[in-house]
């Protein structure tokens, strides 16, 4: 075995190497590399697919969350609005009722005063009438006495006069 033989390719080995390597290359290409590379590609595709799907789901989820948030906010706003309206309505109603009550009270009072005034007037009129009647009756009795006898008339007048004096003092 010389040093030169190292760099001198032997025919036998070239022959077997070419033959067997090409055969194995063919066999591996057909029965090993093809399924392996296809398997790898399929798996990568499925992983990529799954990742895309997950990303989509996440995006959808985020969208849904945003929508939910929006809905919640809207609901809150609506509630606020409704509460405010209710408060307004109540305030308005209370104010209205107060005004109405006041107006009614006022009217009642006015009517009462009118009635009082009317009653008063009626009472005054009646009193006047009674005073007038009494005066007439007094005058009638006086006149009746007077017409009977002159002396009595005189006595009567005296008497009345005396009475009147008494009353004065």
């Amino acid at each position: 075995m010389l040093l030169a033989s190292l760099v001198e390719p032997s025919f036998g080995l070239i022959f077997w190497m070419t033959l067997s390597f090409l055969t194995v290359l063919f066999l591996l290409a057909k029965f090993a590399w093809k399924p392996i590379l296809n398997g790898l590609k399929e798996r990568e595709a499925s992983i990529a697919d799954a990742l895309t799907k997950a990303e989509q789901a996440r995006a959808e989820n985020a969208l849904m969350m945003a929508k939910n948030e929006d809905l919640m906010r809207q609901a809150r706003e609506e509630r606020e609005l409704m509460l405010k309206e209710a408060r307004d309505i109540r305030d308005r109603e209370i104010a209205g009722a107060k005004a109405k009550a006041k107006a009614e009270g006022d009217a009642l009072l006015a009517r009462a005063r009118e009635e009082i005034r009317n009653e008063k007037n009626a009472a005054i009129t009646e009193m006047k009438n009674q005073v007038a009647e009494l005066s007439i009756q007094v005058a009638e009795r006086i006149l009746k006495e007077k017409l009977g006898d002159a002396a009595t008339q005189k006595a009567l007048v005296d008497k009345v006069m005396a009475e009147a004096d008494l009353r004065k003092s």
Binding site: L6, S10, G12, W16, M17, F21, I36, N38, G39, L40
Partner: protein, 390 residues
């Protein structure tokens, strides 16, 4: 002889470290061996041992008729041989297949050569190569003469150690990847399990970082070759680091193997090269006419240089790594032959360096597989690249 030598030396080293005291008994055993003159080995570094004790190793070497020869050890490891030494004196005989244009096909077991000492079927081993002879079967090779014209007509396609190692590694590749492929079809779309986990990152690495980045959108066509080349080189680089059967053959450090691999890349590049690629080689656009007289030959030369460099790089890297690791290892025995104490002293350093080199080789195993695949992909990429529209 690399494997037994390695094994022997390794077991010796460990053994002698553990039972150092026992060595004293073996002193003097070696002296007889020096009478044996060395078998002539041209161009190989000869280590001449001094006449001192080199305990067990010398005893072992004595049985093989020689002193410790670092060059022989290293060359034996990185070269090829007919028959695969397993341990000690046990050799796995391998089939010898010879086609001779005059004699026809001969097939027989390498054990008939009796470790290269005898002739058989009109052939014998000479410096590891099969040569033709007219001597009778069983003649000692020292009495047989080489028949030059018949040797020239001999084509040796024996299943040598490297060829067997090649078959073993290819069988491993087939078994591993077809069973992995089954897992992909059986458990389609599911997470990888077991062995899939080990090879999938590498497959993805070759696909994404080698093929996709260097070739571009048309990478899918070339994936089978790139993957096969990558795993073939990587597996054999690793097997080459295993010092015992079925590892130990220096397959990716063999130029015939890297030659075939580089040739396949070259053929792919040349066949798949598009108009854009050939246009750039034959008449680089945007270059004045007279420069083309220089540039075009350079480009054409480059076409062949690229795969040539691919071949040399892998071969040289792997072989050099093995030579360095083994050289450190051999230092123990080189010093051990001069002085046992020196051998033990050096063994500590050598072992540390050998371990370091083996670690480095593990890294190189991957890097070289990657570099070969990546450069192949680059060349293919340049051949199928579509012109840029600026």
């Amino acid at each position: 002889m690399s494997i037994p030598n390695l094994l022997r030396t390794a077991s010796l080293l460990i053994g002698s470290l553990l039972f150092g005291a026992a060595n004293a008994q073996h002193e003097g055993h070696d002296h007889a061996t020096h009478e044996h003159t060395d078998q002539v080995e041209n161009g190989v570094v000869k280590v001449v041992a001094a006449d001192t004790e080199a305990p067990e190793l010398a005893k072992e070497e004595a049985e093989h008729g020689g002193k410790f020869d670092a060059g022989k050890l290293i060359m034996g490891h990185i070269g090829d041989e007919h028959g695969w030494h397993l341990w000690g004196h046990t050799t796995l005989p391998l089939p010898i297949i010879i086609y001779n244009t005059e004699r026809g096909v001969s097939c027989f077991s390498s054990s008939h050569f009796d470790h290269g000492h005898k002739t058989y079927g009109g052939y014998m081993l000479h410096e590891g190569d099969i040569v033709a002879t007219k001597a009778e079967d069983g003649t000692d090779i020292h009495h047989a003469t080489i028949d030059e014209p018949l040797t020239k007509a001999t084509w040796d396609i024996s299943i040598t150690k490297n060829v067997l190692s090649l078959f073993i590694s290819l069988a491993i590749l087939l078994f591993v990847f077809i069973s992995v492929a089954k897992a992909y079809t059986r458990r389609a779309g599911q997470a990888p399990t077991g062995f899939q986990n080990l090879v999938e990152p590498i497959i993805l690495f070759v696909r994404d970082d080698v093929a996709k980045s260097a070739i571009g959108p048309k990478y899918m066509t070339f994936m089978p070759y790139l993957l096969t080349a990558f795993f073939f080189i990587f597996l054999n680089n690793l097997l080459g680091l295993v010092p015992f059967f079925p590892g130990g053959a220096n397959l990716t450090g063999n130029i015939a193997v890297t030659l075939v691999l580089a040739l396949i890349t070259f053929i792919i590049v040349t066949v798949k090269g598009n108009k854009h690629y050939w246009h750039h080689i034959l008449a680089m656009p945007g270059v004045p006419g007279w420069v083309l007289f220089i540039l075009t030959p350079v480009e054409i030369l480059g076409m062949f240089l690229k795969p040539f460099v691919l071949m040399i790089r892998l071969f040289a890297n792997i072989t050099a790594g093995h030579i360095i690791a083994l050289s450190f290892f051999s230092l123990i025995f080189v010093f051990g032959e001069t002085n046992a104490g020196a051998g033990y002293g050096v063994s500590v350093m050598s072992l540390a360096f050998t371990v370091f080199m083996t670690m480095l080789e593990l890294l190189v195993a991957f890097i070289q597989a990657y570099v070969f695949t990546f450069l192949s992909a680059m060349y293919i990429g340049s051949a199928v690249e579509e012109p840029h529209h600026h």
